[in-house]
């Protein structure tokens, strides 16, 4: 894909005079619950695990209070939770589920086949460290474990973005050119549990953006007696894998369309794949996903006050991976530091998962910058502004010709 095809924001957002939005103080999980209500989801399946399960607590209350009509099923395991939602999706019901940490991995089999079946399930991951040893805090390895299976994966930063992205996720996942499941990643505690003022759109506005889920000729129903997922073996599997590959590619165009429409109708939404912060004249850039954006932005502002040309790129969509956007945004930059809230033991150059992908996306770029891997904030440990300033100074040093380790990762905040 060439840089010419890079998705830039649609025209400057046009504020719509009467969108009928209200404002409320809600957490990231509650914002997602409101999005589910607005999307008129038909089947939701739950199983308890911190921190994602707050979304299900809000959903069940909305149902109990008669504000939301859906079949709400408390499964007996995450495996069943994801299987139930998958099968509801196959008969044409809009479905939702979610999990965190080991719960997400308990459902791994169901997660894998949902993508293989091309079912547009939407899930929320409240990112959480994988046991053992036990930890509730955020780490991205849970969702990243499924990165090659066809799930669309995005990381959001605010409660508003969580709500908006849930609506966008249904639109993109259910598009016939895509028909792939989508997981919205919310950092545990930092986003799932912290409140912010969020604009709650009206049902009418949402309806104008999000069409009904139509499974078309793939719907399982007595009027359409198809056999879904028969045994295919080597006779057909390769062709089917290729179809999934094409669907994952198409998701890029569909995302671009969806964000353009969302921006036009809601007057917000921004650029689909990445968020650029003070990147226009940046000499070095930090890259990361999720709520670490907050300390990074503060650090970038502090450094700018010192006259240091530092910028930040927040990756919003991890699958499809925004290679064209990163190649364009980071082309003029001398050094890039990728902050991973994950680990990838034994990986190429000992970097994090994100660093490894960013490095390969930049490899074919002209004037590719130096890429440095920073591992930070594991298990929900705070990433401080000082940590980030230190990372940025390392990059500035490298940009000025100083020595920097590109063949290994820098771990931040570890007590040695």
């Amino acid at each position: 894909m060439s840089i010419a095809e890079v998705a830039r924001p649609a025209a400057a957002p046009v504020p719509v005079a009467k969108r009928g939005e209200t404002e409320a103080l809600v957490s990231g999980s509650e914002a997602v619950a409101h999005a589910l209500r607005l999307a008129d989801v038909d089947v939701i399946t739950a199983y308890p695990i911190r921190p994602y399960d707050t979304v299900m607590q809000y959903v069940s209350k909305l149902i109990a209070d008669g504000e939301f009509d859906c079949d709400f099923i408390v499964a007996e395991s995450e495996h069943s939770q994801f299987e139930v939602a998958k099968h509801a999706s196959a008969v044409g019901a809009r479905a939702f589920c979610g999990s965190s940490g080991v719960g997400w991995l308990y459902a791994f089999e169901a997660i894998a086949v949902t993508a293989g079946l091309r079912l547009p399930l939407v899930a929320m991951v409240g990112n959480r460290a994988l046991d053992d040893p036990g930890a509730f805090g955020t780490e991205h390895n849970d969702a990243l474990a499924v990165r090659d299976l066809g799930w669309l994966l995005c990381w959001v930063d605010t409660a508003q973005e969580a709500l908006d992205t849930t609506l966008i996720a249904y639109r993109v996942a259910e598009d016939h050119r895509v028909f792939l499941p989508c997981a919205i990643n919310c950092d545990g505690a930092f986003l799932t549990h912290s409140q912010a003022i969020v604009k709650l759109p009206s049902k009418q506005l949402v309806d104008s953006f999000l069409p009904r889920y139509d499974r078309g000729d793939k719907r399982l129903h007595p009027d359409n007696p198809v056999t879904i997922a028969p045994q295919v073996n080597e006779d057909w599997l390769m062709e089917m894998r290729r179809q999934n590959d094409l669907a994952a590619r198409h998701s890029r165009d569909v995302l671009i369309e969806a964000y353009a429409d969302f921006n036009a109708k809601f007057g917000r939404g921004g650029e689909p794949f990445i968020e650029r912060y003070m990147m226009d004249d940046a000499e070095v850039a930090l890259v990361g996903m999720g709520t670490l954006a907050m300390p990074v932005r503060v650090a970038v502002r502090n450094l700018r006050k010192q006259g240091k040309k530092v910028g930040f790129v927040r990756i919003r969509w991890f699958r499809p991976f925004p290679s064209p956007e990163l190649q364009e945004a980071l082309a003029g930059v001398k050094a890039v530091g990728v902050i991973d809230r994950d680990y990838a033991f034994g990986s190429p150059l000992m970097g994090g998962v994100l660093a490894t992908d960013v490095r390969s996306a930049l490899y074919p770029a002209k004037n590719r910058p130096k890429v440095v891997s920073f591992i930070a904030g594991l298990g929900g440990r705070e990433i401080s502004t000082d940590n980030v300033m230190d990372m940025a100074n390392t990059l500035l040093d490298a940009a000025g010709g100083g020595k920097v380790e590109e063949q290994d990762s820098y771990w931040y905040g570890v007590r040695e």
Binding site: I73, G92, H221, P222
Partner: protein, 344 residues
């Protein structure tokens, strides 16, 4: 009476499928047709055929991995004339719940034409009584959905080359329990009592039956009864499997008959908490028919060929105990402990 259905949405009535009175009255239409590639004499395939016929065209079938998927349901030659979808090995319960929930939500919300649609989750003994037990148990609590779980029990993980499962009988030779020089008996557990366990442990489940396709009419009518009663229901079918049990395919029916006649496989229906033995099992229980010795059944199958006299005597004694000391003979394996307040 307490309305336990409050706040859980519409309860869509099940289909009314009257029993077929006599083999000549059964529908002619087949919804499980040609195209399957199961072994000759495969009773499980026969169960699929009876299941589809009994349920009729307004039905969705979900099938978990196993012979009835891998050997039975191939791309370009599917035998299913009903809508059919694969589900994971341990997911027949979840598949049925998800399908029923999706249909019900769409109908309640006016997004789909309202009509009763049968939802049937099919699983083998491995997928059902072992791996999928928790999901089936959960499904059996969903009184708001109409769903049937049909467990076809060929007493092994047949598709993966006949490995021992929780439903494999004591001592049977499987590819994970071969008789050897040091250990003649590798599979030492007695077969899991799945149907009774489901019936006893799931207060929302209104119908449980055991069947054997040697009795096609009873099997058809059990399916029709389960689907008409509605809510979550369960049928457990014992399926002679020529490959796994090691006998000539022509004897499948006969071996099914012997399983009942020896008292090893009791036939019963539990409806609304009341149990009814039927067929030969009933006559055995009433003393009108003498149980055949288990040896007649065991020695017809290669999987028991390594049994010696003691092994046969052991199985006979266990089966005798089923009939002589269980609270409900052949069904519930409790005897009153000495001095305890028992039922007898």
């Amino acid at each position: 009476m307490l309305d336990t259905k409050q706040n859980i949405g519409d309860f869509t009535a099940p289909q009314a499928l009257d029993p077929w009175k006599g083999i000549k009255r059964i529908a002619r239409e087949e919804y499980f047709t040609s195209g399957h590639r199961t072994c000759q004499g495969c009773e499980s395939a026969q169960v699929m055929r009876l299941l589809a016929k009994a349920a009729g065209p307004r039905t969705i079938v979900l099938g978990s991995t196993g012979c009835m998927y891998v050997a039975n349901t191939s791309y370009y030659c599917t035998p299913w004339a009903l809508p059919w979808m694969h589900t994971q090995l341990g997911s027949s319960g979840s598949a049925a719940v998800g399908t029923a929930a999706g249909l019900q939500a769409l109908m309640r919300k006016g997004k789909m034409t309202k009509e009763p649609i049968n939802v049937i989750g099919v699983c083998g003994d491995g997928g059902g009584a072992d791996m999928g037990l928790s999901a089936i148990s959960a499904a059996m609590l969903h009184s708001e959905y109409n769903l049937l779980i049909m467990m076809y029990d060929n007493e092994s993980y047949a598709n993966t080359d006949i490995q021992t499962s929780g439903s494999s009988p004591y001592g049977s030779h499987t590819s994970f329990s071969p008789p050897g020089k040091a250990h003649r008996i590798m599979n030492k557990h007695w077969k899991k009592n799945t149907a009774a366990m489901i019936a006893a442990g799931h207060p929302e489940c209104k119908y449980v039956a055991t069947v054997v396709s040697t009795n096609p009419l009873d099997t058809l009518n059990a399916v029709r009864r389960a689907l008409s009663i509605g809510g979550p229901t369960f049928i457990h079918s014992l399926d002679p499997c020529p490959k796994g049990w090691d006998y000539d395919p022509r004897y499948s029916h006969e071996i099914g008959e012997l399983a009942v006649a020896t008292g090893i496989w009791p036939l019963y229906e539990i409806e609304d908490r009341k149990i009814k033995l039927y067929g030969e099992t009933k006559r055995i229980a009433e003393g009108k028919l003498k149980r055949k010795p288990v040896e007649d059944y065991l020695m017809r199958q290669g999987r028991f060929a390594h049994f010696n006299k003691d092994d046969i005597a052991y199985v006979q004694a266990k089966v005798d105990a089923m009939w002589q000391s269980w609270v409900i003979p052949g069904v519930l394996p409790f005897a009153a402990a000495d001095g305890a307040a028992g039922t007898k």
